[in-house]
Symmetry: C2
Subunit: 292 residues, 2 copies
Amino acid sequence: MGFSERIERAIDRTFPATGLGGPARLDAALRHAVVPGGARIRPTILLSVAMACGDDRPALSDAAAVALELIHCASLVHDDLPCFDDADMRRGKPSVHRAFSQPLAVLTGDALIVKAFEVIAAAAPAAPERAVQLVGQLACRTGAPHGICAGQGWESEAEIDLSAYHKAKTGALFCAATQMGAIAAGQEADPWEELGARIGEAFQVADDLRDALCSAQELGKPVGQDDLHGRPSAVTRYGIDGALGRLDDILAGAIASIPSCRGEAALAQMVRLYADRIVPKAARARRAVPGE
Amino acid sequence: MGFSERIERAIDRTFPATGLGGPARLDAALRHAVVPGGARIRPTILLSVAMACGDDRPALSDAAAVALELIHCASLVHDDLPCFDDADMRRGKPSVHRAFSQPLAVLTGDALIVKAFEVIAAAAPAAPERAVQLVGQLACRTGAPHGICAGQGWESEAEIDLSAYHKAKTGALFCAATQMGAIAAGQEADPWEELGARIGEAFQVADDLRDALCSAQELGKPVGQDDLHGRPSAVTRYGIDGALGRLDDILAGAIASIPSCRGEAALAQMVRLYADRIVPKAARARRAVPGE
């Protein structure tokens, strides 16, 4: 079974189309927030690392992958709220608060965060030590002071610590992806942090490029949000060509950082593949014509 | 060391007055949401049950108690948001969104939920099997379909399942209190569910009485919210004297449900003590003059 199928099946088991049996609109909002998903990049990286490390507890790896994706989905639901991005659309359909209501969007984000930890606990019996490490790692990368909540929190500060901001806002869940993949397969987490951090940096730069270069239709959400909200961006800082050069450097560093393991080559190949995919078309076109 | 001191010390370690080292306003909002607290009823019940069961891992019991209180605080922060109760005050001081901002209130609730699971994971090494059970139990009582998120979610339904609504909205965290206390001390969780459920019912009725009878100053938050929001209430259903009678019946059932254990008598004593405390003064005055 491919990673994509493993992820979608595990998400379907967690939030079946028939609902969980609680209040029906919350059930519908939860499903709306997670299915159909985006590229499922974080859980795919998690499973790739787990596989490279032997993946000897596939049910635990699947649980970790779902948990990480649920946290990501929760962050999108809350980020879209009127008091943050006030985004009407997400993944080409109405955002949760537009489709349901603000109260249900707040609750959906909350319930997704909780479900993430519940899914790991439910897969724990076979390997409780790994499961508590997964809970600790996911929590650290999600909350404060180093997780995505803190990342978003930096936007409420008069002076932003840019490095802490990017690490927490985008990097944290990529570090969670590589480190949780290793933990699920019974390996040390620390050697996998750098790979996650570098993939996170690459995605941050790619996201800045997309925000600056893509249309709202391509993106399935409003564009120009960085400029609009005065948010720090690699494009504002380095220009488009500078940002593209930076992306190449980061990805080379990511590949170089992969710890020695059975699946090292396959993992490097995956990073290269994603590198091609995450660069927006408009940027690729510029790249093909360097004199432009 | 008394329960209250154990709880406050453990909360202080989790959110020190000096902050966590993340964005300063989020740090301040997190501390604002948890210190000074309310009555810390849920963690006190948790520690009481843990003690009645032997409390052989006090660090794990403390972690479980803090985790439960953080989930309760998170629910207050999100419930106070303009899209829910729109409450300006909480525990006699401005609610988090009034003192900080709506974005920081959303993030504070999110980060508190996450920290709850992180605290349990951090206390896990000594007893990972118990820790994952605690994570599972807390998640089940917090999220959907049976936790407080689902409880709040029922308020967005056209037709409310009243029994499911009360169980989830108020009962869930009291069940978590008794069951997590047992788990932390290495005991089976199931026999402790009924005690939690009955304490939860009692608090729901007491809360309905407070909402109907107390002043905003006594309560430290707006009153008459049930009527205002058309929420189901024991007072609307049974009248004030009927609700008081129901409270007595429920508490007698709670005491009868306590499983046989070393600390059974002390636990019954605690329930009686709380029973006196949770009845609003105005209701006690009515009770003293039955002909009124």
